[in-house]
Symmetry: C2
Subunit: 349 residues, 2 copies
């Protein structure tokens, strides 16, 4: 039986208080992380197990969160697929050349996780040893749609026109691409579990660019396949996205154990849409961490109130911690959630 | 009694077929518009009633849409408020200096509509004469939150941190700013109605940056005030936003007659959330206009099917037409909607 409150909440088991962790809890807002980044690039950190472990553990020590998440980048599989990846200052990731045609898709390689993520996988082993059971370790991967959009657009995008072009003009190529990325994602997450992660989060960060019609025809079947492939491993699967408040039932239809929702919907409305048979993660606005403490507390409290002591709530932001976030507010929020979460009501347990 | 199907749909009266128009239907994708822009900047067009009328009428002739919308820019009131406004190539609007403090807010002027929009107001008179009753003319203004975010951020923004900072750190200044912008918006829309517009759309384009908690405390009361102030004029009020699928009931609570929704929710789910006592506008993904015609038709048809012949649906995109949209697809879509909209069922009329 799980004893960690994070894992118990993922399984909707009673907890002593609401678990809390943050997306990008290892990141630029932490002085210790910036010190590491001063001597190593993002991709250099990912390639070095000791550095992966170091930055993964920093927020656990600094913040008192209830889970660690392995440090890595969503786009690590890109070079293994046969495309170059680099990060330009201020511009975000650049993938070159972009994948635009059926021929481009056919040309992609299918890399093994050890090829593109050996630093991360070995980092997982180091972190598990260092944590020694204090808190669980979460693994993660980019979901096929989000990976596909990066490959097709060649980086970030505002309107995802090239992505939607492939989807509507070359549906066979689209499905071939999604099949390839689904296989890579399954193998990568399986390898992370084998290395020691105790839960996995699938980041479909840009799914909110889609209509429910497109999500259903072009994305849902592939995410369902990933969730189904992980079921035998018995680790909770968290599905993350933003801008999807209008089609949460489709996210629940993926079969994921936990649905992570952004701040553009109340937690109560989101949980009602997802269904009581799922756990929910969220959903504070990352900007709330810049508010005065009393206002931050009010915003956190109304989320806790909506969870109403029902097991299955993991407190988190609706998206990653922003770069200039005050560390002392993050620490305050962890303490606030632990102290003010309503205890599970016996009638709901 | 209104005879135009657009105005009848706004009032949920039976129509012969579903009316359709497009946000940014006058815009860069139209060769005739690009020809005008080759000799005049955006702000020069807005200042010249003849040019305003010319570009407003272009899509009515070219596309066969059921409404014209006066050509203008959301940010026209900015110079009148006492801030400079210019458009940098590719960067969007730049407002300078930004409004960041209570002192900045106190310093803002309260301009009369004739000061900042005389070209638009005179353009409205010209367009009404030229249209001669063929289709109705829609007026519009930026909603106070969206205007406030531009003023505070100094332009477009990704995370709206400065806006949320003012809102949480200086709530009195926030409310003073919203009060000022609300007064300017009411006066501007009243002047447009006096000049001849037959419906108005309030663009709260960036409301989807907010949680429902923040929308309710910081935005809703001001939008309610605008809608209430316009009620005696008896013109339909359309409220537009994007990324708000998670709190549509709060948009309905503004009192607006028509709620315009984006493509991140099915029309049926959106209408259920808004309530049957409101008309609905939307909600095709603007990217669908780049799809092959049969796919575009499928995407349009499933929206029409969801409206199920119930009066009160105005077909539109979920956001503005994108710059490189093929004109022939826009024209095809207008014809498709007119031909394939289900006739109102007698039992629902």
């Amino acid at each position: 039986m799980d004893t960690a409150r994070f894992l118990r909440a993922c399984r909707r088991q009673p907890v002593d208080t609401t678990p809390v962790w943050f997306m990008r809890q290892a990141g630029r807002y932490l002085p210790a992380y910036r010190a590491v980044r001063a001597r190593a690039s993002l991709l250099e950190i990912c390639a070095d197990p000791a550095l992966v472990a170091e930055v993964t553990l920093q927020p656990v020590e600094a913040l008192g969160v209830d889970a660690a998440i392995i440090f890595a980048d969503l786009l690590l599989p890109v070079p293994g697929l046969g495309r170059s990846l680099h990060f330009s200052a201020g511009e975000g990731p650049v993938i070159s050349p972009p994948v635009r045609t059926a021929a481009d898709v056919a040309q992609l390689r299918q890399p093994e996780p050890e090829e593109f993520a050996s630093g991360v996988l070995e980092g997982i082993r180091l972190v598990r040893r260092a944590l020694d059971g204090r808190v669980p370790l979460i693994g993660f991967a980019g979901a096929p749609f989000t990976l596909a959009s990066y490959l097709i657009e060649g980086g970030s995008s505002r309107h995802y026109l090239a992505t939607k072009h492939l989807l509507t003009h070359e549906p066979a190529a689209w499905h071939a691409l999604m099949e390839r990325l689904t296989a890579v994602t399954i193998a990568y997450l399986q390898a992370q579990v084998a290395a020691g992660v105790q839960a996995v989060q699938l980041f479909d960060s840009w799914a909110g660019a889609l209509s429910p019609f497109d999500y259903q025809r072009a994305v849902l079947p592939w995410t369902q396949r990933i969730v189904a492939a992980l079921k035998p491993l018995d680790v909770p699967v968290i599905l993350f996205s933003t801008g999807t408040a209008g089609f949460l039932p489709l996210l629940a239809a993926t079969g994921a154990d936990v649905i992570s929702v952004d701040w553009r919907i109340t937690l109560a409305d989101a949980w009602a849409a997802i269904g009581a048979d799922r756990a929910i993660q969220g959903n504070l606005d990352p900007a709330a961490l810049f508010a005065p403490r009393d206002d931050l507390a009010r915003q956190a409290q109304q989320i806790l109130d909506q969870a109403a002591g029902r097991p299955g709530h993991i407190f988190n932001l609706g998206h990653g911690i922003l770069p200039d976030t005050p560390v002392e507010h993050v620490r305050f929020l962890v303490e606030y959630v632990h102290e003010h979460a309503a205890q599970p009501s016996p009638s709901l347990v």
